[in-house]
Every structure is written in C-alpha cells, then in structure tokens.
Subunit: 269 residues, 2 copies
C-alpha cells in the first residue's frame, strides 16, 4: 500500500531529511540514497530498505516504476510525495524522483566475508566523501573483497559518498577500525600489505602483485602516516613528472588496484 | 607596494568575487585561484597574475610569505585584506590566506605547443568541474602534452576545477573546440585516436600504445557519442566486474593515460 504525504513537517519526511546529518545518521544506523542508480543498486545488493519515497511526475522511466513495484511487493513502506517534498530532500540538481531510506550494513570484522582472499583496500583518514565514494565504485568494478576505513575517515553513508559510489557502497563489504584493529585483522586475513609513497623505490607498474593483498592508502593531505607505513611489507611509487607532486587519492587508489586486478585477470585466464 | 582594503564593497573585491560567476569569468578572460598550492603553481607556470589578495594572519607559512614577496617584486598589484574579506572570497573551509586573480591562458589551436608528440586527452562535454580538475592534475603528472575540451565542457577555470587540478591548470596546455575543429587539429597533429567503450574488444591493459596518441573520453552520463566514436581508430575497454557498470570519468581517464605513460616510460629507459 502506498501512503501519500503532502506535509513537509510530516515525521517521516523530517526523519529522512535529518539523515543528511552525520550524527543522526550514525544514531539511526541508517542512510538516505538518491536517484535511480543508487536506489536500484541498494535493491540489487539486498540492502535493508526501510522506506521508499517517490514523486510519480519526476519518476518517468520504467525502471523507476519497477523499483516502486518491487518495494510494494516486498512489503516496504512506500511514500508518494509531491515534487516540492522530494526536492526538499534531494541534493542533486535534477532529482530523479526517487529516494530510499535504509539500514547501514557494516561487515563483521572477523567474519568469513571480511577475511576473503583477493584485493583489499584500507584508507587512512580519508576526508572527502566524493573521493571515498569514487574509491568504493572502483573497488566494486575491480572485484575488490572489501574496504577498511581507518581512524577518522569520512562516512561512506554520507549522501555525497553514496552518490559518488553510484550505489556500490551497497555491494562492497566495508568496516572501520584503527591501527590495533587493523593489526588484529591482518593476523586473521594475512594479506601482503602494500603502501604507496612517492619515496618508494619500486614502480607500481613493474611490481608482481600477490593474489591476496591489502593496499594501504594515506589521506588526501598527509599521505600515509608512520604508524601505517611501519605495517607495510612493500611500498610502491606511482611515477610523476611535470609540476604535479601528487595525484588525487581516488586516482592513485584506482591505479594500484587496477594494476593488481589486471595482473590477476591475466593469470586466471 | 601593498594596498590595504577593508571594505567588502571595494570595486577590486567585487571584481574578484564576481569571478566565481562563469559569464563574468569568460567576459574578463580571468580566473580566481585559492590556496598556497594553486597560487604557487600559477606563479611557477608563469600564469599572468593581475592581483594577489592575502590576509597576513591566515598566511602563516614561509612559502605563503614568499609568494607575496614575489608578487611585490614583480610589480603585481598586492592587496592586504582582513580575514572577513578573504573568507568572503574563499570557497574552502579552511582558506589558506591567499588568492590570486589572473588571466586565462588558452593554447593557440595550431601552434607548435598544441601539436606536440605524446599523450593527448580530449573530453566530450565533461560536466563536473571536480572531474575536469582531477583529469588536468593527472595529465600534468603523466606528462601529457595537452587537453582538448569538446563541445559543452565545463570551464577549467571554474574555481572547483582549479582547486581539483591543484594548480595544474596553469601547467597543462588546453584549448576548446567542436567536432570540426577536432578533425582539423587531427589533420595537423596526426595522433592515433583512441576511444574507450565498454563494448570494445581490446583490453586497455593488453594494448600496445603508440608514442603519439589522443584519448577521446565521453561525458560522465552519456559516454562517447557516435560522431566521436566514428573518429576513433581504436577503442579500448576497461574490464569491470561486480555490480559497477562504469567507472568515474577521472578514474577511467587516469587508467588509460597511465597505462600509455607506463609503456612509454619503459621504452625510453
């Protein structure tokens, strides 16, 4: 059954709006996702969706309608709203008429899923939600096993991160921890730990990547700190020339992840 | 000589503020760049700087002070402002106390610099200034010869693009044109034209890149349109798995640019 809400101050609308606030989002362990791609991905990845909010006039595509039908059939709360309510919630310039409110899903630290063999990525104190979302999207595309958010990393359920991930946040296992937790996890999972540093001697494009590895990436401003560099068994450099002295974090992460992924693919073919 | 301005409505401050507006920026053929890295890069790349605006309390580093000295010695107009004026102009959360207003510098289409041999990148209707800036930063790092902005591409002098480029916009030659202009340029420069497409048969990591090439990249939403695909002599695919059906444009561009750069480096060593 579809409920119609026309008041901007309806408690369910207020709840959805407050999910743009980090503190409230954490307290509720919830997310708000926007647009066809992210909402569709949330369904496909079996995210726990609590509420679907849509405006029929903005939701023109068959795919959009199919998401509403899917939610109704699954017994999910579906709310139809006028354009002014949807626009009051949406952050995009051109909202696609659909939003989903759902539950955050963090991996259990020492579960089987969180110790699987393959490519892992850990980010130290990543600051920019757009960078984080882009990295999650890359991890998904390269079949990475999961993402570890270290220390004061930004929230992967920030609406800007969800948007930049194109919904891949719902598909890529992720958990957060600190340096002690990371050491514990390394003891369980036993990947080769690889850092990137402009001072490293080995060129990332010349390195032979092991089948089970963790890329440890530093923050946008500071790079990898000493206590994480100490954990690395190998450091790799991405060569640069010109006037640039660093690459965007999402770009640097993509270069090393894809380099490993390309090698692994060529070995398994 | 350093001029002190304390009024938010001083004409020079109003002029600087209006440069955040695309129309005014184009009309004046000017830019406003923010922060130590971008302003420093503008100096190092010999950008034509018209005015330097700084707040001495926020400008704590020696490097920042050296930029003020450099501007003064070069006879550039230097304006000292209180924090509230600098903050009214800056877009960053933590402004670094320095801004530069300068002249846009577009490459002359058929000059020697615009036809040099090496890696070139062309973007069809890139929409996001952050993506554009990140791509410029990558081009700089990989020693690309230049960037061609096709059709309705966003402005590389958008403050968000300058910021994402970390000032590399001042170092990487760039010009804009359409499909006819591109064909004309191809006739002069004669690179191998390479497009990316998820339907391509050749894996980008298995391809042997020529020494003089143009990567033609589609827009974030639409990919490469037919009229540009028709120009490509080669199309390459970036393999993906998982639920992701595309990569961020700046990531995809970095992967192919660096793949070519890595091959060229290994040949010249």
């Amino acid at each position: 059954m579809i409920e119609r809400i026309t008041s901007l101050s309806n408690p369910r609308i207020l709840h959805a709006r407050k999910l743009y606030d980090l503190k409230y989002r954490r307290q509720e362990s919830a997310f708000i996702a926007e647009g066809l791609k992210s909402v569709g991905q949330a369904f496909d990845s079996k995210a726990e969706i609590r509420t679907l909010i849509f405006n029929p006039d903005q939701l023109s595509s068959d795919f959009g309608q199919s998401l509403v039908d899917r939610a109704s059939q699954a017994g999910i709360q579906v709310i139809e709203v006028p354009a002014y309510i949807l626009e009051s919630l949406a952050r995009k310039d051109k909202p696609q008429g659909i939003l989903a409110v759902g539950s955050q899903r963090w991996s259990v630290f020492d579960s089987e899923a969180a110790t699987g063999q393959g490519i892992w990525v850990a980010l130290e104190s990543v600051q920019n939600p757009g960078n984080l979302g882009t990295i999650i999207r890359t991890c998904d595309a390269a079949g990475a096993k999961g993402l570890i958010l270290l220390d004061e990393s930004t929230d992967p359920y920030d609406p800007a991160a969800i948007k930049a991930s194109m919904g891949s946040i719902f598909a890529v296992p992720h958990f957060k921890t600190g340096v002690d937790g990371l050491r514990h996890w390394l003891g369980l999972s036993k990947p080769v730990v690889i850092g990137t540093s402009d001072k490293a001697q080995t060129d990332y494009s010349q390195y032979e990547y092991p089948g089970h590895l963790l890329f440890l990436m530093g923050s946008e401003r500071q790079g990898l700190s000493g206590r994480y560099l100490d954990i690395c068994e190998q450091t790799l450099a991405i060569p640069m020339q010109g006037s640039a002295d660093s690459l965007n974090l999402a770009v640097a992460t993509a270069l090393v992840v894809y380099q490993a992924y390309n090698q692994l693919r060529s070995k398994t073919v």
